[in-house]
């Protein structure tokens, strides 16, 4: 089962204007750097991006904000980005904020074929406005829906040609659920190996969810908050 495409440009070439994308990563950790660069080269516009964060001014999704390719962000936290602020305040950019656990779970449920579920996050807050609430065992919950997306773009550490994936450290974050949730799932990896090279017990995402895979040309892996121990 060969899912390999030659490079990032090939992988994203059919993403149309106004597509709904999921983009993996937490902060700048585990983001699909090479695919984002390709989206910028392609110049696709009007994107809705489901991603926990929106990058920083000069890295990650922040780069796509600068080029005005993003119409709407669906995120849990969007700080650390001056251009983002400017577009938001000027009304150029729409933002929908969602509790982080709900965001992650809505991706997961798409992959699990579960259209709706109940979570306590946001009960009694403005997040609950217009949402169905329901009590279970004396506790109140909101009904939340699985996300839909046209393309999921994720970053893994190692992958094989059939699309089986292994993530590394906290770069795992949103990537496994998004990999399950895309109508088309595009994966970039640091290491691309032959089928049979990965231990089947260690695979985090089986290739069945992956439509395209390529080895990223280079990884900068920018660090957002380099924090060093005193000693």
């Amino acid at each position: 089962m060969n899912k390999v495409v030659t490079n990032a440009d090939e992988a994203v070439k059919d993403i149309p204007d106004n597509a709904v994308l999921m983009l993996g990563g937490f902060g700048l950790c585990g983001i699909p750097e090479n695919s984002i660069a390709a989206l910028i080269r392609k110049g696709v516009k009007g994107l809705t991006c489901i991603s926990n964060n929106a990058g920083v001014d000069d890295f990650g999704i922040g780069l796509m904000l600068k080029t005005r390719q993003v119409k709407k962000m669906i995120s849990s936290y969007v700080g650390e980005n001056a251009e983002f602020e400017r577009q938001l305040l000027s009304g150029e950019l729409e933002v929908e904020l969602i509790p982080q656990g709900t965001l992650a779970t809505r991706c997961m449920m798409a992959g699990y074929g579960i259209p709706a579920f109940f979570t306590p996050a946001g009960v009694g807050t403005e997040i609950a406005d217009g949402k169905e609430t329901r009590e279970f065992d004396g506790k109140e919950y909101l009904m939340e829906y699985a996300f839909k997306s046209d393309f999921a773009i994720v970053k893994a550490w190692k992958g094989d040609t059939a699309g089986n994936l292994i993530y590394r450290g906290t770069a795992r974050n949103f990537n496994p659920m998004m990999a399950m949730a895309g109508e088309i799932t595009i994966v970039e990896v640091e290491e691309l190996v032959a089928e049979g090279e990965l231990d089947p017990n260690e695979i985090h995402t089986p290739g069945i969810f992956v439509n395209r895979i390529f080895k990223g040309e280079k990884y900068e892996k920018r660090i957002e908050q380099r924090t060093i121990s005193k000693q």
Partner: protein, 218 residues
């Protein structure tokens, strides 16, 4: 004397027990990690996907794939496990975290909390705060008792948009330690040198001074 941030962190650290899994929020809560008693078995969870967080790395050990929920570079300890964000909030919602410590802008006498949004100011988002406050059964909120203008942050009703409703039972400020029940802040511990009059002046919500009020050891 009001408690310093370090003294607040020390007081919270005394709530730790061996065997606890703990989630520490950004700000003062993070400092609690510095006061875990030597030899006590406490595992730190970071909601971006790990259990077993260690101290910040030395320059040589910095790894871009190892960050905490505040996006800071970190290290891991023996016994660490990584997992994805959905799984992480799964363990939060199913109440496996023994103690959650987080900051706040306002807390109300019925346990409401506001810590994510100030109308008119730029909104950055709630991150995992709404999930944490709605799920955790043992939360300590820690904050200064008043805002920079000197106004109480212990209120009858929160004025800011809520993060969670009726979910906070304990608040530690620089002036005192409060248990919230039956619609009131019950002052159970007071910072050394702080008077009840000062507490009263700086509490807008309903206040009850505990019959066996203790002084916080510093």
């Amino acid at each position: 004397m009001a408690l310093t941030k370090e003294q607040i962190a020390q007081r919270i650290a005394r709530e730790l027990q061996s065997g606890y899994y703990v989630n520490l929020g950004i700000g003062i809560p993070t400092l609690v990690a510095n006061y875990i008693p030597k030899g006590m078995d406490v595992v730190l969870q970071s909601e971006n996907g790990l259990l077993g967080m260690g101290p910040f790395p030395t320059e040589e050990k910095v790894d871009a794939d190892l960050i905490n929920a505040g996006k800071q570079t970190i290290t891991i300890l023996p016994g660490t496990a990584f997992f994805d964000s959905a799984y992480s909030f799964g363990m939060i919602r199913s109440q496996r975290i023994d103690l959650t410590v987080l900051g706040a802008m306002e807390v109300s006498e019925n346990g409401d909390i506001a810590n994510w949004k100030i109308p008119g100011k730029l909104i950055k988002g709630m991150g995992g705060a709404m999930d944490l406050v709605a799920s955790a059964r043992n939360i300590i909120v820690t904050m200064m008792q008043t805002n920079p203008k000197g106004e109480s942050k212990l209120l009858s009703n929160c004025s800011l948009p809520l993060t969670g409703k009726k979910c906070i039972q304990r608040v530690l400020t620089d002036l005192g330690f409060y248990i919230i029940h039956d619609g009131a802040f019950h002052l159970v511990e007071i910072a050394p040198g702080v008077t009840i009059d000062e507490i009263k002046a700086k509490t807008l919500g309903k206040l009850v001074v505990s019959a066996d009020l203790k002084t916080i050891e510093v």
